[in-house]
């Protein structure tokens, strides 16, 4: 009896903590995205310059690692497709794999993982450090709204960067697959691209947009929230950074499951006999 009560209390407290944390993240997201509407004509140039900075750090500086990663992923897919074709004399399924695996799953997921590892950690550490050094208090003192100055540019810049990087990922992966498939034989890039476009549906692009938006805004909101949760000591900064990485990963993987389920819902409902 006592054990079950204790378990119930622990569960309740954990649930409360999760609820509060989720509310804080959603509040950061809402206040950050709506701040330009609420605070019109305040520092537009400053805000744009911070957005551009964020795009430079998140989108531009991550371009090379993303392209290398995508090239390798595309190369593996091209290699495996080529091997299957050789061993089993089967059809070439690289285009199908490209659309179903790379475009729908790997591109948004691997890109956001790299972005979380590079940029979300940096944002959490930067904001934590700013909070510990009272830089944010200094901003409040001169009437600068933190949601507009801190959250909004990072959310928008981060999201735009993630969307762009996801597109670059697909082109680099396509190029990787093409290069590997051309080793020892000739395979036309035009044929590869044409086949991929034949398989592409509007829903695929919708799924891609939904994933980059949800992953981008969610991961950056978590990083901002964790960074701002630092109170007064710099020793909290690495703790906040670690929390932001772990929680962003958990959020992204769970969100990915739900979005993929939603995408395949009609097919699944038929198979499961729900329709």
């Amino acid at each position: 009896m006592r054990a079950s009560i204790a378990t119930g209390l622990i569960f309740t407290s954990r649930f409360n903590a999760l609820w509060n944390w989720s509310s804080d993240v959603l509040q950061t997201l809402y206040l950050g995205l709506t701040s330009p509407v609420r605070l019109r004509n305040q520092g537009p140039r400053e805000i744009v310059s911070i957005i551009l900075q964020q795009i430079y750090f998140t989108g531009f500086q991550a371009l090379l690692p993303i392209c290398v990663l995508a090239f390798a992923v595309g190369g593996v897919i091209g290699f495996q497709s080529h091997m299957q074709e050789l061993l089993f004399a089967g059809e070439n399924w690289v285009e199908k794999v490209f659309v179903t695996v790379v475009l729908r799953e790997l591109a948004p997921l691997l890109t956001v993982i790299l972005v979380i590892a590079r940029s979300c950690t940096a944002i959490a550490a930067e904001l934590g450090s700013m909070k510990a050094h009272r830089e944010l208090k200094g901003l409040q003192l001169i009437g600068i709204d933190l949601n507009q100055f801190i959250a909004f540019p990072r959310l928008v810049g981060g999201w735009l960067s993630l969307a762009a990087l996801t597109i670059y990922f697909q082109f680099a992966a396509l190029f990787g697959a093409y290069v590997v498939m051309n080793i020892g034989r000739s395979y036309s890039l035009k044929t590869l691209v044409d086949h991929i476009f034949e398989l592409l549906r509007v829903g695929d692009l919708g799924l891609l947009l939904a994933k980059t938006t949800l992953f981008g805004l969610g991961a950056f909101a978590i990083a901002i929230q964790e960074g701002l949760s630092v109170q007064s000591s710099t020793h909290e900064v690495p703790q906040a950074t670690i929390r932001s990485v772990v929680r962003s990963f958990v959020f992204v993987f769970i969100a990915n499951i739900f979005l993929s389920l939603a995408f395949y819902w009609q097919t699944l409902a038929k198979v499961w006999g729900l329709q």
Binding site: L39, R45, K137, G138, L139, Q140, L141, I142, I144, F149
Partner: protein
């Protein structure tokens, strides 16, 4: 609330439980003085502990209703609760109340010049050129006071906050606050260890040819008296109440 010129009073009430700890009612305007005014308010301690001093600074710097433990604070502007005013008005009021505290930082990734210009870029882009000229003029003031002398050859304003000392950072904070030409300037512990910095701030402000009004926290503090006696008020009287006010045209 009307325009900023009609900012008639600033009232703060701080309560500890049910007991009122202190209450202030500051008025920025006077028929005796025309033109922009400047109120220098210094405090060292509001009570037996530093806690209350920090609480006051927190209230002033955040301009928010504070409710922590059993301490409550309620800021009012022109008789209206600050939180009940529109956000845009709150922002404008915010710029009229500047604080130079011991626990405030400047943006580490920007130079001192950029930090000083930041509020103008954000709030008053039309004044940025005039502010930049004034801020560049501070080099003479800094040189006069021997500040940044160890960085000979380097332009002090091009340094980043972590390249200068804590006292110099605080001086830069003071200059930023002065540059905004607020109606009230609160300087934490001005009479404790940073009287020379306060002098520099006053000097910088007087260079703008503004009027100055000082409010002291405790006349028994000799350091602050030194500041006042040497520069502004030779005959200022001692006051028994915490917040006192003397008017002067400088």
């Amino acid at each position: 609330m009307r325009s900023l010129e009609s900012l008639e009073s600033l009232n703060f009430t701080l309560q500890l439980g049910k007991e009122m700890v202190w209450q202030t009612n500051l008025t920025p305007s006077s028929s005796e003085i025309e033109g922009p005014r400047f109120n220098l308010i210094s405090w060292t301690s509001l009570g037996s502990t530093q806690l209350q001093q920090q609480r006051l600074f927190q209230i002033l710097s955040q301009l928010d209703e504070l409710s922590a433990a059993d301490i409550q604070a309620l800021p009012k502007v022109n008789g209206h609760e600050l939180r009940s005013l529109p956000v845009s008005v709150q922002k404008r009021v915010r710029l009229e109340i500047q604080c130079v505290g011991e626990c405030i930082g400047l943006l580490a990734n920007r130079t001192l010049r950029d930090n000083l210009l930041l509020p103008f870029r954000y709030h008053r882009p039309e004044q940025i050129q005039a502010a930049a000229l004034w801020i560049d003029g501070l080099r003479d003031s800094l040189a006069q006071w021997g500040t940044f002398s160890e960085k000979s050859g380097a332009n002090a304003l091009d340094l980043r906050p972590f390249d200068v000392t804590e006292a110099q950072r605080r001086l830069a904070l003071g200059f930023r606050a002065v540059a905004l030409q607020p109606l009230w300037l609160f300087v934490e512990s001005a009479d404790y260890y940073s009287d020379r910095q306060v002098l520099q701030m006053i000097d910088a402000y007087l260079a703008l040819k503004k009027h100055l009004e000082a409010i002291r926290s405790d006349s028994k503090k000799s350091a602050m008296n030194f500041v006042l006696d040497q520069n502004l008020y030779n005959q200022i009287q001692s006051d028994t109440v915490f917040w006192s006010q003397r008017k002067a045209v400088v």
